[in-house]
Every structure is written in C-alpha cells, then in structure tokens.
Amino acid sequence: MPGPTPETLTAPLVVEFPFTRSLGPVQSAFLTGLRERTVLGVRTRDGRVLVPPVEYDPVTAEEIRDLVETAATGTVTTWAWNPAPRRGQPLATPFAWVLVRLDGADTALLHALDAPGPDAVHTGLRVRIRWAVRRTGAITDIACFEPYDSPAAPRATAHSGAFADPVTGITTSARLDYTYTPGRAQTRYLTALAGRRILGERCPACHKVHVPPRGACPTCGTPTDEQTEVGPRGTVTTFCVVNIKAKGLEIDVPYVYAHIALDGADLALHGRIAGIPYDRVRMGMRVEPVWTEGARHPDHYRPTGEPDAPYDAYKELL
C-alpha cells in the first residue's frame, strides 16, 4: 500500500468542545436520581418500564412522564469483552460492555461491567450498580456494574421524580483527533507559499486561473494541473473594517480585511491590509504581500504606491 509521499502535508486537527446540554424533565429526574443513587424509569401507557427513561415512547411517540423507581440490581442481556479500553470509556482496565435489564425494567441499559475476565461474564449474569464516589447527575454516576448474586426483584414502584436541587443540564466534553491532509493541489500551493511564491492553477477547458487551487476547475469539473505563478501584486476589490477583536487573534483593531485579486488570478483571495491607516483603504488600491520570517502565509498586504486600478478593471471580480 503506498504510504504518504514525502512531500504530502499532514497536521493534527483537534475538534474539542464542552457541549452544554439542557435536559427535559424525564432526563433531569433520571440523572438527578443517579446522583442520589436512585434509578428511575418511565412507564409507557401499555405498562412497559423503560430504563434508561426516554421522553417519548419509542413505539407510539407518546410523551411519557410516568416515573417509576427500579432496583439497582439486574441481569445481563448481552455482553462483550473489551480488552483494550479507549479514551473516555468507563473503566481504564479491561471490562465487559453489557446491556443490563434492571429488576423492574423491560428494557436494558448500556454500561460497563467490572469483571476479572471474560470467563466471569455470561448472559444472564446477575449484577448491581457500583456507584461513583463523586456524583454530579450524569450517566457516569454509575461507575460501572459489578457481579452480584441476588434474587431478581421484578417490580417498579411509583416515583414523583422530585429531588432537591435537580440537575437541569450536563456538560459533555468531546474531543476527537483528526489528521488533516490538504490534498495534492493544496500541498503544491502551500509548499510554494513557504518559498514565498503564490501558485494558481489554470483550467485546461476555460483557461481561468484559480487561487488557491483545489485540483479541479470548480465551474468545469475538470482536473487542473498546470501551475502558474500569480501576483505578488494585486488589487483590493472590496473590504471591510474589522472593529471587534476575534478570539485568539493577535491583531489590534480596527484593521482591514480585504479581498485581493492578485495579478494573473481570475478570482480574489482574502488578506489583511496594513501599512496604511485603516480609513484610507480603498477599493481598487494596489497592494503587495508582506511576509514575516517563518510564516507560510503573507502576514498582510501593503500599498504598492501605484495608482489605483479603475473600477472597470476589477468589477467582474467582486
């Protein structure tokens, strides 16, 4: 299998956010109950008890609010042995994934089972909840299940769902790690940029020069591989003055964010204009890139001092 060619660019890309999830009343009661070591389910109109409790009947779509309390003991309905736990999973040591039907419930809950090994696990195994020491009102308040021999006690009792200081929301952090690869055309472009050359690609069919290039002419759907250097000078086609500071950006406001049609390119790319007071930037102004040491992209564009381009020269590029 061909591996990445030496010149292929790759970089890590982390997508991470602490999602804040507001809860409906049933979810709120269930998760608050876990905090209080109480397992709640919901009873459907036809008398089935669903644990974990959902807000809407999976069969009839009816809203269900009839809360009941079930036991913290139950029976494994199916299982799988996980020898290599992954990030975020309930246990760091090998464990069994299990679906557990708690006593009094008609449906099963997915969680982890702490057991010495796969030979200690079987469908029908009796288990009980091992509560987390620190509980906040989340599914992880169940640390895991553990084997526990006890007679099944199949009954659910009515519960108001009322608790002091109910949990109304959860924060679930999610981090995903990606490896980003920009592809052939972008790699060529980025590699040239590192040498302070701006490379576009010409479409063999319509002869337009696109920059940054993406390997295909977006209008013709034709592969492009003829590189052509554009710029470095160009014309400001339009712009805005940015007055609010973007998070994580070091630039002082106000500054000018402009669309710049580089000489030889058939569309504008985006860049910052500096070296001139922000309120003197104009459409049609001629600019050139300014590079800083070690940066791949131009830091900004500055006026060349040439006369402004007439509107007719760039109006098709707006």
């Binding site: 099963a108 995903l176 993406r214 977006p218 013709c220």
Partner: protein, 354 residues
C-alpha cells in the same frame, strides 16, 4: 406517477486504508468523470445531483461543499445533500426523478474514513445524554449484537468466520476492494479476540473511497444503458435509537423496507448487503428471507471495503452493475445507517429479460 427509474452507470474508486495525498474533491473527481463518461453525460448536465457524506468524518463543518468543486456546478445546478450514506442520496434522487422534474440524476458519496479515529467518531452518533458520554465504539456495539445472536443460537464464531472468508474471497474478483482473499476459517479462529466475541475478521476495514451512480428515467435510461437496472422498489425504515429497547437479533426495519420495496413478491438471484460486521449478515439474511441459492455480496461487501457514507451506495451500484452486465436479473441491494442496523434501506433492481 408512473415512471420507471433505473441505475444506468456506476463507478467507484479503489478503496484504501488511507489516502493522504488526495482531498475529498480530488478523490471524487475521477469517479465522477468515470460515471458521467459511462452515461455519456457532461459535467453539470444531469437534471439533478445529490450526494451523501458526513462532516464528522473529516472533522470539518460543511465538508461537502468542497466536493462540489468536482461536479462542474456551472451554470448552477439543481443539487441537494444528505448527511448520511449516499444510498439515501440515491433515494432522494429517485424521488426527484419520479416527480418528472428531472430525467437524469448524478448521485455520489464521499467516504474518506481515515482522517479521524473512526471508532471514536462513530460514538458521537449515540444518545448524547445517556450513551455517548461512555464512548462505546461501533466494534463494542457490534460485539454486543453478535453475542446476542450467539446466545439466541442464530450463529456461532465458526459460522461467522465462514462469512468473513466467503466475503473476502469473493472480493478477489473485485479490483476496487481493499481486503481481498482470506485465510481459511480454522486459521482465523486461532487469532485472539478483538472484542469478544469479535475477532478482527468479523469487523470491516477502515477505508477511504468514493462512489457514484447515474440514475435515469424511462427512455433516457434505455438510451444511456443497454441493460438498465430498473428500480422496481426502494424503501427505507428506521427503528428506535436505544440499543436496550431493540431486539438486536432481528431487523424489523429491514423487513419492513423490503416489504415496501416489493422484495418478497419474487425471488432475487443476488443480494448486496451492507453488513459491516459478520453477524449483521446473519440478521439481514433472516430479515430478507434470503435462501442459500441467493448469491450474497459477490463484491465482497462491507467486509472487503468500508468507506463510511459510501458503503451503502456501493451496494446499490454493485447490484446494478451485475444487472448491467447480465450477471443478474433481479437483485436486492441493502444499505444501513446508525448503530447496530438502526436504519435500513432496501432496493429491488431488475434487468429486462431478452
């Protein structure tokens, strides 16, 4: 509305473990050119275009918008996108053709699975309150489903190894497949469990790939393709989300979709099933009432290549391609989405008999 719609062309990339040298648009481009060439259409000329993909595979919002660069969407085109497997894009395009608003449609799917950690990515499909915080990955969920089948006496580890062997050996005839050929079942069973009861052979490979089909209606289809694969019926159904609510040994949504697609009115000779895990083929065969005389997954199926978000569309394409070349007269194609076969699509394709 009485309009007959057929799959008239199918193309796919070679499926590989990783493709760092190509962007999604670059991966799609040759596939789109291939399928349009087969159909004798120029870029941008199909009456409708619809694609399937997921932002979560690339880790980028609006990832599908860049793929449009490969389509030739100028002048502007009638175009839509589904955030799921391309099989559902085909469904949307089929509906569009039925309305009479278009005579041809380009359907494509981009399945570049390698940028992320797919096992982690797919956990984000699960109930965000009760399940996703535990990060149960698709292999774990398939293992739970498999154990349920074993407990029910529907299969055993040896039979599952046999399914893996059959699919991957069939893939030796598929030049696009990622995994071709297999050691005998006895050897496979000597390996350690990946996630008991699953071994590596029970799980699909992680694949990058793309696929595209062209649909056409009535005489347009006949003009484009000597033997169109007529869509006699297509339907899809979804089940409740909670794994503990469902009977994991059965697939009622597949059965329902098959009924609505007319799959049971006459026997099929071929079935392309979207079963990423060996045990899921067992579930699907039962739900679809496929006998031993039906050729299942001559392409090697999802066990031979699994470009997520394109795998289902490829099943439709592979089934159609067999009809195109006269190797099948009536084929069933199936696609799935969601954890443990939550959502299923079934299409019945037929070639005209001479």
């Amino acid at each position: 509305m009485t309009r007959d719609v057929a799959i008239v062309a199918f193309a796919q990339s070679d499926h590989r473990r990783r493709t760092p040298e190509t962007s999604e648009a670059e991966m799609l481009l040759p596939v789109l050119r291939d399928v349009l060439d087969q159909a004798g259409l120029d870029p941008g000329t199909p009456g409708f275009t619809c694609s399937g993909s997921s932002d979560y595979l690339a880790g980028r919002p609006f990832s599908f918008t860049m793929a449009l660069d490969s389509v030739g969407a100028w002048p502007p085109i009638a175009e839509s996108h589904v955030e799921t497997d391309g099989a559902w894009a085909l469904y949307e395009a089929w509906v569009k053709l039925l309305t009479g608003e278009a005579d041809t449609a380009l359907v494509y799917a981009c399945g570049k699975s390698s940028p992320g950690d797919l096992r982690a990515v797919l956990t984000r499909q699960l109930d965000p309150y009760y399940v996703a915080p535990l990060w149960p990955d698709p292999i774990a969920l398939a293992a739970l489903q498999t154990q349920a089948l074993i407990d029910a006496g529907a299969t055993d580890e040896r039979a599952l190894a046999g399914i893996a062997v059959r699919n991957r050996r069939a893939a030796t005839a598929n030049p696009h497949a990622q995994l071709q050929g297999s050691a005998p079942a006895e050897r496979l069973l000597e390996a350690d469990h990946l996630l008991r009861p699953l071994r590596t052979h029970d799980a699909p490979p992680i694949s990058d790939g793309a696929a595209a089909v062209v649909l056409a209606a009535d005489d347009t289809a006949r003009r484009i393709c000597p033997r169109p694969a007529w869509i006699r019926g297509i339907d899809h159904r979804i089940e409740p989300h909670g794994l503990g609510v469902r009977d994991l040994t059965d697939s009622p949504s597949t059965r329902l979709a098959a009924e609505h697609a007319g799959a049971f009115t006459a026997p099929v000779d071929t079935a392309e099933l979207h079963a990423p895990f060996t045990a899921q083929e067992v579930v699907l065969r039962t739900a679809l009432r496929l006998g031993d005389d039906v050729l299942v997954n001559p392409s090697g199926g999802a066990l031979a290549a699994n470009p997520v978000m394109a795998t289902g569309l490829i099943r439709l394409g592979e089934a159609a391609a067999r009809i195109h070349r006269g190797a099948s007269d009536r084929a069933l194609a199936h696609a799935t989405s969601g954890p443990c076969l939550q959502q299923n699509l079934v299409a019945v394709l037929e070639g005209e008999r001479p």
